[in-house]
């Protein structure tokens, strides 16, 4: 175990954490579920690419193209290892989770979903895992159903059984961790139920992959999506993983360069996987930068990441719950939740709260967090959300707590 790792040491790798914001306040960055900060190693990898190796990839034989292609493909190998993916051809680079899920909706969904079919999602999904299925089910005259949540913010999996019992479900699309409640979905149970029923499962791993160990080989889902920018990587790169047999059966999504084998005027054949789904010049530099993020996480270890987040989230939950007027959402069982805390403070609207504490250098998010279905369910307009990562400290939680009392004074609570 890497007992030598300390938060102080980690913080040194993140240049932005030295920044002062607003009135010379230390930045307290608690908006990690939206996007994480980047270590110098990732920034340097991008700079190094543009300074020394920049070229388009795959199709040229010159030195730069060779170097760029090799570095780009090495990221694929690193992702395969990181998530225990046995076949690198199953890894498709996309812009992020949203594009990954839309790719499945278009390239798999349009040829698979028929009138009367059912797609099941959940009440705590991000819009990225709802809207593509709305569009698809509307086009196909199919139905979209939701697994409801209980008072602890956990899925009521009995409802999944009921949907599956109709025999009409073709896909269950569920996130492995809610970006609002922090709930960790029991995806093993979901997948087991679906497998038994012969139903495909898509897992939205946008919030899980950055924060805990994920093993895709043992998980056994059919599609898996996540974003690089939420796990120390650059913006503009994400991954769709899918079982090879599915990728092979699927129609192509975007047409263009690199995804073809032979183009003739009136007919075209497709390239091997994964290139069939990587049309056009990809986001080369950021895919390469992403590898540095994975190296970084491997270096500190995902066990450390999870342990650190449990510690700090517990501390924050304790301190927040001691404040009169704070309402916390989600379970208090830390084995079932990640480092995301949604809350409301008396009758202060989350936007106002975020603006007030921003004055103290604190970056939290306020709003519906792209989860309006969940907001409707909770019968609220918005929450404030603090979300943690490897570089956050208990001292930062204390700054948040102090700032909340200033808000209370302004609003005369």
């Amino acid at each position: 175990m890497q007992t030598a790792i300390s938060v102080d040491q980690i913080r040194k790798d993140f240049p932005i954490l030295k920044r002062k914001v607003r009135n010379d306040k230390n930045l307290v960055y608690l908006d990690n579920a939206a996007t994480t900060q980047k270590p110098i190693q990732v920034i340097n990898a991008i700079t190094d690419f543009y300074t020394n190796h920049n070229s388009n990839i795959h199709r040229a034989v010159h030195a730069l193209a060779e170097e760029a292609t090799e570095a780009y493909e090495m990221t694929r190998d690193k992702i395969a290892k990181f998530l225990n993916i046995k076949d690198r051809q199953e890894i498709v680079f996309v812009r992020g989770t949203t594009e990954a899920i839309n790719l499945v909706a278009y390239a798999w969904g349009r040829q698979t979903i028929k009138e009367g079919d059912i797609i099941v999602t959940t009440e705590y999904e991000h819009h990225s895992n709802i809207v593509p299925w709305q569009l698809l089910t509307q086009e196909k005259k199919a139905k979209l159903e939701y697994i409801a949540i209980n008072d602890h913010g956990e899925l009521i999996l009995d409802q999944l059984d009921q949907y599956l019992a109709t025999g009409k479900v073709k896909l269950v699309a569920v996130s492995q961790m809610s970006n609002v409640l922090g709930t960790i979905t029991d995806v093993a149970a979901v997948i087991a139920k679906c497998k038994k029923a012969g139903v495909r499962v898509l897992i939205d791993g946008a919030q899980s992959v950055p924060h805990m160990k994920v093993d895709l080989d043992s998980l056994g889902c059919d599609f898996f999506a996540f974003s690089g920018h939420k796990m120390l990587g650059p913006t503009g790169v994400g991954v769709l993983w899918a079982k090879k047999e599915l990728l092979e059966q699927m129609a192509p999504f975007h047409g263009g360069g690199d995804m073809i084998r032979e183009v003739h005027k009136y007919e075209t054949t497709w390239n091997d996987l994964p290139y069939k789904f990587e049309a056009g010049t990809p986001n080369i530099a950021d895919v390469i930068g992403f590898a540095a993020a994975i190296d970084y996480l491997n270096n500190i270890g995902m066990d450390y990441v999870r342990a650190h987040e449990i510690e700090i989230t517990k501390y924050a939950l304790d301190r927040l719950s001691a404040i009169h007027g704070i309402k916390l959402y989600g379970t208090s069982d830390m084995s079932k939740r990640g480092g995301v805390i949604s809350f409301n403070f008396a009758d202060i609207h989350p936007h106002d709260l975020a603006t007030i504490i921003d004055e103290d250098g604190i970056a939290i998010r306020s709003g519906h967090h792209c989860a309006q279905v969940l907001m409707e369910k909770l019968d609220i307009a918005a929450t404030s959300r603090a979300s943690f990562y490897i570089y956050n400290t208990k001292e930062e939680v204390d700054v948040l707590i102090n700032s909340l009392s200033r808000a209370a004074r302004l609003f005369k609570l």
Binding site: H349, H351, D352, T355, H368, A381, A382
Partner: protein, 144 residues
């Protein structure tokens, strides 16, 4: 830039707890709804028009303190005004009342949502009667 916290003076906080003209009008002459896609704030404005005057105005919905205070002030300004005068209201007429002229860009949308709804509402009323109604729509869509 003014300090953000300065925004939350007593008037704003009071309006957020006791908004003016909050409620609904049954069968209003004009009704319009819009929401802020970035934060989910959502406002409905209802107006009765008599003799081309806004004889009554109410609003419902939910929003942050900035949004509720600005909507309150806006409805106070509009009430009793002629349609002609109501359509001329500018953003600083509202922001000025509350000392919010220098509001940060990302919050300006909260402040102006109701003005946007008002302008679209007036447009919907004038569209078939007034050759210059399109200007209102333009204004509304360019508010932020």
């Amino acid at each position: 830039m003014s300090s953000n916290a300065d925004i939350y003076h007593e008037m704003i906080v009071d309006y957020s707890r006791h908004p003016s003209n909050f409620g609904k009008i049954e069968n209003p002459t004009i009704q319009y709804h819009d929401s802020n896609p970035l934060c989910g704030d959502s406002i409905d404005i209802y107006m009765n028009v008599d003799n081309e005057k806004v004889s009554d105005i109410k609003f419902s919905g939910r929003g942050c303190a900035i949004c509720l205070a600005c909507t309150s002030v806006l409805t106070e300004i509009v009430k009793g005004k002629s349609i002609e005068d109501a359509r001329k209201i500018q953003k600083n007429d509202v922001l000025g009342e509350l000392g919010l002229e220098n509001l940060q860009a990302v919050r300006i949308k909260c402040a102006l949502l109701s003005l946007k709804v008002l302008k679209y509402g007036l447009y919907s009323y004038l569209a078939t009667k007034d050759a210059n109604a399109d200007a209102l729509k333009q204004e509304a869509s360019s508010l932020y």
